[in-house]
Symmetry: C2
Subunit: 436 residues, 2 copies
């Protein structure tokens, strides 16, 4: 029997059980903190030497010089050309769709002129140089290359530096090909906290960037948290999660497979199903039992569902929406007859996949939006990775002499109230002056 | 003689001296880290009890119950009505201008439909509840109430919770009045790491928020860094700074006073002037010596200029722009004849004050943009506090049955390449199905 928790909103301890399921301890264990602290300090002070050492010790990849960690673009291009035509076409189509979606996110600078000639505005420009962390290790994720690098390209970032761990020096050809398709500028075989440190502080070989994006393991997440302020970061990513809300009318095998697609990521991944019909929960559970043996990653899916999965029975779809908002899931599938209506009742989700024909997997690869999404209830305040993550704005103020008098008088009044004489005098000096 | 460093780009050690001036150690000292760690842990686990204790021990304000830390709206309104009419008018005019500016930043959700009926979109909604930290202590800053709370209001945030430290229980009436004008919902007399902890985790009395914004001291900054991920934060603020670029044609007293207006904040504040004319730097230095005795905060200005100030001589305005980009200042004044042209050559600044008639002080109080700006070179990647800080977006994907087949085939191909069978099968199941 497949092991997965059953919850119902009618249970007296439902609140506590839901909290236990969704609570994520966002602080790193002290051992991780200490390790990351010392890795970052060594990379900051010893540069390339530290990168060579950590890559040998932690990734089992021996190089003499840090320069050997860089993969030249000719190798990416060769990898792209060596792909099977169907793979190449899939990669390029996905890239084109991701680019098209993100073109909608471009923002324009604006300026407005007041009657007295004073101008106000907001200028938007791309970041100069960003670092993209692409996780590797057990699975290689070419899709992550597209989903991180393309929004940066659309924003107009001048230089996109990609890092990816390569245990034993191995990197999937598809990942190299994706770097070529996504328009990455430079690629280093570096992972973990040492990669984050290299991007944040720069070394003799790896250039310092202005912002680091992309998900990684606990060490990467903690390293990003630590360098935040020195460089920008997108978010501190937790384990991935899906919440499916179903009205009980979708083929149970479809729903079972959608839950598997989350659970197969890793044992911390969370797959949750909410439905008003207990019968349907039974059917999905039976389908999962039937389908699990076919899965190549069943040894990850099974413990993931047992530890973190849940089938949740609710009174109706209205209650499903309430529960969903408390979970604030990274991925939300609305496998129901009127998904627009249900979506509108739910505030917090990274991405919403609407209707029975929209499995999360399509969003993971090629629908268009980035698959880098806020996890672990951070959808309450955070957004999907987007073009806005690769731009920064600057406020513009240009007072006319007349505007300077009007506004200077107000500023001086408030500055005096705050006891800031120099602020007040700085405004007042312009009041006393004739027009130019 | 007023003590302030002189630099010139012709000095052989200019690079090193500039780096020394602008380097900011963004990590908190270990003593601050440890203190913040223990304050956050106690607030998280003991709630109100910890707030009452820390407020007594750290702010010297004794209350029996945490509920006494809340100031009811009637008191804000009374404070507003008791203001001198000129002060009230200044506060209300400033608030109206800040609101008008931020209305330009509102963003709309969008949706697009593809030929096969597949819909993609991006939904933008306000955050539910935010916390605004208003620094207190030595100076009271009603302007900070406006500059933090009004962008949140314009975004449509449902509940704005303000916290401000009140040493000995004292809070400036103008700060209370500003809370009334800015549309704050609840106000607690709480400061330091304990205020950040209360907002992040919630206590019996203080509700947990989704995001915490606003500048504070080193403890507040470190606490925000630590709770980031559990809640959103705007930025980790460092000391405030101004860079004035002058062509040598502005009244030296104006420039001297603009530099003072930054230096009077605190001894870590940085005031820098760049000019191609050494003669003008002498004139400004002479003006500073002359004007300093008139300043109410001269005992802060003098050490601030000595430790962190600099007068920098460059070859021309082109070089001034290059140096400015390396400083990436929070506030940039372009006191020159063609400020638009110079502004366009500079990439990194929190806010640009253009022309001789735009002292930073006007921006601090009433021009319109928020005065909460990226400090310490973070303008390379960060933006002024704005409406976008109080909204989050959700990606929307709705595949038509036909779209599901086209996109599902691509997704399945890429999922197989990544070795993620369940992802592939989840897409493939929909391929095998007839239209609804």
């Amino acid at each position: 029997m497949l092991d997965i928790q059953r919850l119902s909103t009618t249970q007296p301890d439902f609140e506590a059980r839901l909290a236990a399921l969704t609570d994520w301890d966002d602080g790193a264990p002290h051992a991780v903190e200490a390790a990351v602290d010392s890795i970052l300090a060594r990379v900051r002070h010893e540069g390339d030497r530290a990168l060579v050492d950590y890559t040998r010790d932690l990734d089992g990849y021996h190089v003499e010089q840090a320069a050997e960690l860089e993969v030249p673009p000719a190798r990416w291009q060769a990898a792209l050309e060596a792909l099977e035509p169907e793979d190449r076409k899939a990669l390029e189509t996905a890239a084109a769709r991701v680019e098209a979606y993100h073109q909608h996110q471009r923002q324009e600078s604006w300026e407005t002129t007041e009657p007295d000639g004073t101008k106000l505005g907001q200028r938007i420009r791309p970041l100069e140089r960003v670092g993209v962390y692409v996780p590797g290790g057990k699975a290689a994720y070419p899709s992550s290359v597209l989903m991180n690098a393309i929004p940066a390209r659309v924003a107009g970032v001048r230089e996109v530096i990609m890092v990816a761990p390569a245990p034993g020096g191995e990197i999937a050809p598809m990942v190299l090909a994706a770097a070529a398709v996504a328009g990455v500028d430079r690629l280093f075989l570096l992972g973990g906290a040492q990669a984050v440190g290299a991007l944040a502080y720069g070394t003799e070989t790896v250039p310092a960037v202005d912002k680091i994006v992309g998900p990684g393991n606990a060490y990467v997440a903690e390293a990003k948290r630590r360098v935040f302020g020195h460089v920008g970061i997108d978010m501190v990513a937790g384990p991935s999660e899906i919440l499916v809300i179903c009205d009980g009318q979708t083929d149970p095998e479809w729903t079972a497979m959608d839950l598997f697609s989350q659970a197969e990521h890793d044992e911390d991944a969370r797959a949750l199903l909410i439905c008003p019909e207990a019968r349907y929960l039974d059917e999905v559970q039976a389908a999962m039992e039937r389908l699990l043996p076919e899965m190549s990653r069943s040894e990850i899916i099974r413990p993931s569902l047992a530890r973190r999965g849940a089938l949740i029975c609710v009174r109706d779809l209205g209650e499903a929406a309430e529960v969903a908002d408390r979970i604030a899931p990274e991925h939300l599938e609305l496998s129901v007859v009127e998904p627009e209506r249900l979506a509108s009742a739910i505030d917090h989700a990274g991405a919403i996949f609407m209707g029975r024909y929209t499995p999360e997997a399509i969003g993971d690869y090629c629908a268009g939006p980035s698959h880098v999404l806020p996890t672990s209830r951070t959808a309450r305040f955070a957004s999907p990775l987007g073009v806005y993550d690769f731009c920064k704005s600057t406020s513009l103020v240009q007072c006319s002499p007349a505007g300077s008098r009007t506004l200077g008088a107000i500023a001086a009044r408030l500055a005096h109230a705050e006891g800031l004489t120099a602020h007040a005098r700085s405004a007042e000096l312009r009041l006393e002056s004739p027009d130019e």
